[in-house]
Symmetry: C2
Subunit: 186 residues, 2 copies
DNA sequence: GTATACATGTAAACGGTTACATGATTCT
DNA sequence: AGAATCATGTAACCGTTTACATGTATAC
C-alpha cells in the first residue's frame, strides 16, 4: 500500500492540511496516485497515531481552523524503509478495453461516442500536464535533484496520456471500419 | 465495476471453469483487467445466483470435476446494458512514481536496481504480447469483427508496455545523472 | 521426492467508494 | 439568492488481497 507513502512524500515536499493534500491528489499527484479526502483523513489519523506525522492547529480568520501536518522522524524512517523494499509492478485496469472486446457481442458503432468522450478527457489531461511542465520546468533552467525527479514523473504522465490518445484513435478507426460495414444511423 | 462484465466477455468468447477463467485473466485478459481465482469464484457464484451464467458439471478422469460456465440470456442483456452506460476513465496508480518522487528525500541511486527490475518485468510482458500478436493476428489475414477488436486491445497493451519501457529508461537516466553528481553516502 | 498444474473453495483483514453531515466564506 | 470553495469528519458498504485448506496428476 502506497497511500501513506504518497502522503509522506507530499508532506515532505510541503506540509499541509488534509484538505490541501486532497487538492494536491486531485492536481499534481493525480497522474500517479489518486485518493479522496475521506481516505486521506482516515490515513492521516492512523499516521498521527503511529507517530509518522505531527499536527499543528492553525486558526484562520473567517475559515474553519485547519490541522497542518508535517512529517515526523519515524515517518521519514518509514519512507526510507519502503523505498528500500521492492514493490510489484502495478497491473492495469481499463474498463474501456473490456467494452471494446465486449462490443463483438453487441454494437461496435455504439461505442464510438463513449470512446470519443474518453479521448476528450485524456486530451484535457495532456493539455494540463503540458501547461504544468511549461510553468514549473522551463527549458534551460538549472534544476535541483527534487525538481528533476518531479519532472521525470511528470514526463511519465505526459507519455501515458499521449500513448492513450494514440491508442484511442486506433480504437476509433477500428470501430468506424466495423461500423462502416453496417452503417450507424447516428 | 467491470469484473463481472470482463467475465461475461471472456465466457462469450469461450465458456470455461472458474479455474480456466483465472488462467485467462493471468494471460490474455491480464493486459486490461486482472483478477485472482478467489475473486472470480465469488463473482461467478453471484452471477449464477442472478441467472447471468449457467453451470454444467463436467466429470474428468483423474482430475477433479469442473464446473463449466456459459453466459445465459440475462447475462447477455446485462452486458448490453453496461456497454451502453458511460464509464469513467480509470485513474492511475504507479507506486514506482511515488518512489521516484520520494527518492528526493532518500537515496536516488538506491532506486536504480528497483527500476531495472520493473523494466525487466515490462520487457518480458512486451515480448509475450508481441509473440501473441504474431501467433494470433498474422499479417494479411482476413479478420472478423471479434478478432479485429481483440487485436486493437492487444495493440493497446503493446503500446502501454513500449511507453512504459521508454519512461523507465528516462527514469534510469535521471537517477544515474543524480547519483553521479553527488554520490550520497547515506 | 519435489514442484508445478489442475480445481475449488472459506475466512479475515484491508482498502476504497459513496452517502451523509456540518458550517463559514467568497464569487456570480 | 445560489453555487462553489474551504475544512473536517462519520458510517455503511463493497471490492480486493492474503492466508489457509484440500486433493489429484503430471513432469523433472
Amino acid at each position: 500500500m502506497a497511500l501513506e507513502h504518497a502522503i509522506l512524500v507530499s508532506l515532505l515536499e510541503q506540509p499541509g492540511s488534509g484538505y490541501e493534500l486532497a487538492r494536491r491528489f486531485d492536481r499534481s499527484i493525480g497522474y500517479f496516485w489518486t485518493a479522496t479526502h475521506q481516505q486521506i483523513y482516515r490515513v492521516l489519523r492512523r499516521m498521527e497515531r503511529d507517530g509518522w506525522v505531527e499536527v499543528r492547529d492553525v486558526a484562520q480568520d473567517g475559515r474553519p481552523d485547519k490541522k497542518v501536518y508535517s512529517v515526523a522522524p519515524p515517518g521519514r524512517g518509514a519512507l526510507s524503509d519502503w523505498l528500500a523494499e521492492p514493490v510489484e509492478p502495478e497491473s492495469v485496469r481499463h474498463s474501456l478495453a473490456v467494452k471494446v472486446r465486449g462490443a463483438a457481442f453487441g454494437d461496435p458503432a455504439g461505442l464510438i461516442a463513449e470512446t470519443e468522450r474518453h479521448r476528450a478527457v485524456h486530451a484535457e489531461r495532456l493539455a494540463r500536464y503540458l501547461a504544468g511542465e511549461q510553468r514549473d520546468f522551463p527549458e534551460s533552467a538549472e534544476l535541483d535533484a527534487g525538481a528533476q525527479l518531479q519532472h521525470v514523473v511528470l514526463r511519465g504522465g505526459i507519455a501515458y496520456e499521449r500513448m492513450t490518445l494514440d491508442w484511442l484513435d486506433d480504437v476509433l478507426a477500428t470501430l468506424r471500419r466495423l461500423g462502416g460495414a453496417h452503417p450507424d444511423p447516428h
